[in-house]
């Protein structure tokens, strides 16, 4: 059942802010991240990468590298057997090029040596003969007939004929009669937008340690958002059985979607297999930028019609995304999310993905949604300006609500958009005065949220404390929130619960930590596991008391007689039941395995004030407030943390972050110096307002919160800057040269 019979809303512990269980390890430097682990006899792996955006690999001569003292293994594309299925094959080819280098930074060979210095020296001895091919970097250029073809024969059946071979997929969503809708409009605004590719920018580069024996068994330690996914895809690439590969997720130094796939893990496994020794690979920062997943870059046209009183009559968007050198489905999600915040009679979105000679896209927080919603919310804001309407009132007037047929098809159940908009309207930020050269922007945001495959095991120690074994790397404080939900359900103090993230041999499959799923799905499974353990405890106590199991009940962390007829027994606490468990049938555990559905969509509204320096085009963010529906904030600190962190990533995307390519197709800014993520002094406080509109699909009403916050900032900032500057900005990032240019063009 995805719709819960009963949603609990009164809590003793959920909603409090206890210290996180991994806190002390992380503030003392003890926490072990991807690069922090070593093994006896360990070798260092290094990857040689293509300096060309697009080139045929004619030959690779590794003899000199192999002959260097201290080198224990060299691998190239020839050392990998490509999996049958398209998904894994693309991942494999991305990890190690086969016959062609498809982007600047594409791996072409790797070595394992006794030290990092020897491995580096060996890379210089590898001779790769390339035939440089024409390249294409921009999505619109890639879609044009006659563009250099990144990979031939990759188009899905849904792509109409006659387009560039780079176009791999097409999608269309929506309902209603567009022409009739636009006829009803008093004003129609049509605009084209562009957004640059941005990188997740996690501070910890990818790192792994692989140890593979001659018997085909292997252990892999790595920083990942999903150790089970790493196992499946590495096993497929290595031709192994999943159970023979044990993957342990280290502490993870940020992911944001970028660690939902593999880059160096299969390479380390292949090197380890060849060398017969453990191999560690740690990416350098330039490798992270050149060869791991940024998000798509996009080119978008939006057209919206509105009546004089602010009702949207028709809306359409054409989205062209590029996820780099491989087919990519992100545009599907952008096309579905674009108009999710609106209740529309006539709406249509069209999406296209085209390949370019850029690294393979990896998910980035609400993948595909920020770009589309940026374009839509910019046009809505411009309509409000043209019609002299309050942008918040217009959103309220057109807001999707329960019963709205969403732009992507389904009819919405309970959603929190209206309440979120009303909260923004009531907040003092919305009416605070603005000074000269200042502007206020707002935007709605949306994300679907997912559940997915989840296993939780809960074990009661004989002393009455509880361990929870789950399988999702903790990227935002989930061990704290899972412990809280377990403590709540069991009626024991939070500090009696310890949650650990297990390796792939220790618990059943868990989907990746993605889709804002962990607090929802692992939380749900934890609550169910606790209820399973409670049922077992009730049965034990019934046995002790010599009464029927249905004559006892669980209340406030103890088993009680179910009523006066059950007999007079003093209640038995969890600790007492655990202590006697060897005598009553053995250790007590609860577990739950599920493919969770019913995650419940999430909406947010962001409000921002900026000041634009008319002489330099510099933007200063003055005030920022995030409003978001969390269903139930299990640990409010970490809900706020998601809202603040997502907002700031979005601010970076709006103002400064971008992949910059030269004419030669090489990435020009593969470092934190010129890939400019926000620094502390760029920002004001990020104020947060959490709303709690229960999700009917979770026993405590929880919704995922992690992804939605990156969606609104792009348009919120763009709207604020456009209002402050008096000119509409349509390209991200809105770097100072772009803003100054727009100001001068305006005169």
């Amino acid at each position: 059942m995805t719709r819960q019979d009963k949603i609990i809303r009164e809590f003793k512990q959920v909603g409090t802010r206890p210290p996180r269980p991994d806190g002390i390890d992380k503030v003392t430097g003890r926490a072990m991240y991807g690069a922090d682990v070593t093994a006896p006899g360990m070798l260092w792996g290094k990857v040689l990468r293509s300096p060309h955006a697009h080139a045929r690999i004619l030959s690779i001569d590794t003899a000199a590298a192999e002959a260097l003292e201290g080198v224990k293994a060299v691998v190239t594309g020839a050392d990998f057997t490509l999996p049958e299925d398209e998904f894994s094959r693309d991942v494999a080819v991305n990890c190690m090029a086969q016959d062609a280098a498809l982007y600047d930074g594409h791996a072409v060979a790797a070595v394992a040596a006794v030290s990092e210095a020897v491995a580096k020296a060996a890379l210089k001895l590898i001779r790769v003969e390339y035939e440089v091919l024409p390249h294409v970097i921009d999505v619109d250029a890639a879609m044009a007939p006659g563009a250099p073809v990144v990979q031939p024969g990759r188009a899905y059946e849904n792509v109409p004929e006659g387009l560039s071979e780079n176009v791999t997929s097409h999608c269309e969503f929506g309902h209603g009669d567009l022409a009739a809708g636009f006829d009803k409009a008093d004003v129609i605004v049509e605009r084209s937008f562009r957004t640059a590719a941005t990188h997740q920018g996690y501070i910890e580069p990818h790192a792994c340690l692989a140890a593979m024996g001659g018997d085909g068994r292997a252990d892999l330690w790595c920083c990942t958002q999903g150790q089970f996914h790493v196992r499946e895809v590495c096993a497929a690439i290595m031709g192994m059985e999943s159970s023979q590969l044990r993957v342990t997720a280290s502490e993870i130094g940020g992911g944001f979607g970028g660690k939902t796939t593999v880059f160096v893990e299969p390479v380390a496994l292949a090197l380890s297999r060849k060398a017969g020794r453990p191999v560690k690979i740690v990416m350098k920062r330039d490798e992270v930028f050149r060869a791991t997943g940024p998000t798509v870059h996009s080119s978008i046209d939006v057209r919206i019609g509105m009546t004089k009183d602010g009702r949207i009559t028709a809306a359409e968007a054409h989205l062209r995304y590029s996820g780099g050198a491989f087919p990519c489905g992100t545009v599907d999600m952008g096309a579905q999310a674009a108009f999710a915040a609106y209740d529309l009679d006539a709406v249509r979105t069209f999406g296209w993905n085209a390949m370019t000679n850029r690294p393979k896209e990896a998910a980035y927080r609400a993948p595909g949604a920020p770009q589309a919603i940026y374009a839509v919310e910019s046009v809505v804001d411009e309509l409000c300006q043209k019609l002299g309407l309050d942008p918040l009132e217009v959103r309220i007037l057109n807001a999707a609500r329960k019963g709205t047929k969403s732009a992507y098809g389904p009819t919405f159940d309970e959603i929190g958009l209206l309440a979120t908009l009303e909260a923004a309207k009531a907040h003092p930020h919305y009416t605070a005065p603005l000074g000269p050269n200042q502007g206020r922007g707002l935007s709605c945001g949306f994300w679907f949220n997912f559940g997915g495959n989840t296993c939780v095991t809960m074990n009661l120690a004989f002393d009455g404390t509880v361990t929870i074994t789950e399988g999702n790397p903790d990227i935002g404080g989930s061990r704290a929130s899972i412990s809280l939900m377990a403590a709540e359900e069991l009626g024991i103090p939070y500090d009696k619960v310890r949650t650990i993230v297990a390796d792939t041999a220790s618990i059943g499959h868990n989907d990746i930590t993605d889709g804002s799923r962990v607090t929802f799905a692992v939380g749900l499974a934890t609550i169910e596991a606790a209820r399973d353990a409670i049922a077992r405890m009730c049965a034990r106590v019934a046995k002790i008391w010599g009464i029927e199991p249905d004559a006892v009940e669980w209340k406030d962390g103890a088993v009680h007689p179910a009523g006066p007829n059950a007999g007079k027994f003093p209640p038995m606490s969890l600790a007492e039941i655990a202590e006697t468990s060897p005598n009553t049938g053995g250790p007590i555990a609860g577990h739950h395995e599920v493919n969770a559905d019913g995650a419940g969509v999430s909406f947010g509204v962001h409000l921002v004030d900026v000041e634009v320096d008319p002489e330099t085009g510099a933007t200063k963010v003055l005030r920022y407030t995030v409003f978001q529906d969390a269903g139930k904030a299990v640990h409010p600190d970490y809900v706020e943390g998601q809202m603040q962190g997502g907002a700031v990533q979005g601010i970076g995307w709006a103002l400064n972050e971008e992949y910059i390519y030269g004419e030669d197709g090489r990435l020009q800014n593969p470092g934190f110096l010129d890939y400019r993520v926000p620094v502390a002094s760029d920002l004001p406080d990020i104020e947060t307002v959490i709303l709690e509109i229960p999700n009917p699909g979770h026993p405590y009403g929880v919704r995922g919160v992690g992804e939605t916050p990156i969606v609104p900032p792009l348009a919120a900032i763009a709207n604020a800057v456009s209002r402050a500057a008096g000119v509409r900005l349509t390209e991200l990032p809105m770097s100072p040269p772009r803003i100054l240019k727009a100001l001068s063009a305006q005169g």
Partner: protein, 158 residues
């Protein structure tokens, strides 16, 4: 390649190691001394995850040669707590939820301590500018600034 013997003090303890001439202090701390609290986020001084003190001065360990540590005093995150007693900054970072993934946290704690050692009562703006070289991608910095300020207040006895 000739290795260089280095004798230095790390968190108050005298240590000796051999290093390659081009090896960074960060690599020596992590790979030779087993002190993996300082992280390599960039190798170019742009992220601050490897922040340590050398002779009381805040630096990026990735931009110091290990050989330069000869005779120096080095302080890392591993030396901040006195046994099981956490430094107020460490405690407030946990209590104020000023960390999520935590990979930038060691560098930020070392940097924040250096700030409070010379300016016990900084403004929010001073905290933000001092920490501008410490990138955090999870928190948006808000709770980090709060945690530094509450630790500063406690340390001032306010």
């Amino acid at each position: 390649m000739k290795t260089i013997p280095v004798s230095t003090k790390v968190n108050g303890d005298t240590v000796e190691f051999l290093c390659a001439p081009e090896e960074t202090l960060l690599d020596a701390l992590r790979n030779r001394l087993g002190l993996t609290g300082a992280k390599e986020g960039c190798g170019s001084g742009d992220c601050g995850a490897c922040s340590v003190l050398v002779d009381g001065r805040l630096v990026c360990a990735c931009l110091v040669l290990a050989a330069e540590a000869e005779g120096a005093e080095i302080d890392t995150v591993e030396g901040m707590a006195a046994g099981e007693r956490l430094h107020p900054l460490q405690r407030h970072f946990i209590d104020s939820a000023a960390l999520q993934c935590g990979v930038c946290t060691p560098g930020i704690l070392v940097a924040a301590k250096a700030l409070l050692d010379h300016n016990p009562d900084p403004s929010d703006e001073e905290v933000r500018y001092w920490l501008a070289g410490n990138l955090c991608r999870c928190t948006g910095y808000d709770k980090i600034v709060r945690a530094v300020q509450s630790a500063a207040a406690e340390m001032r006895g306010a």
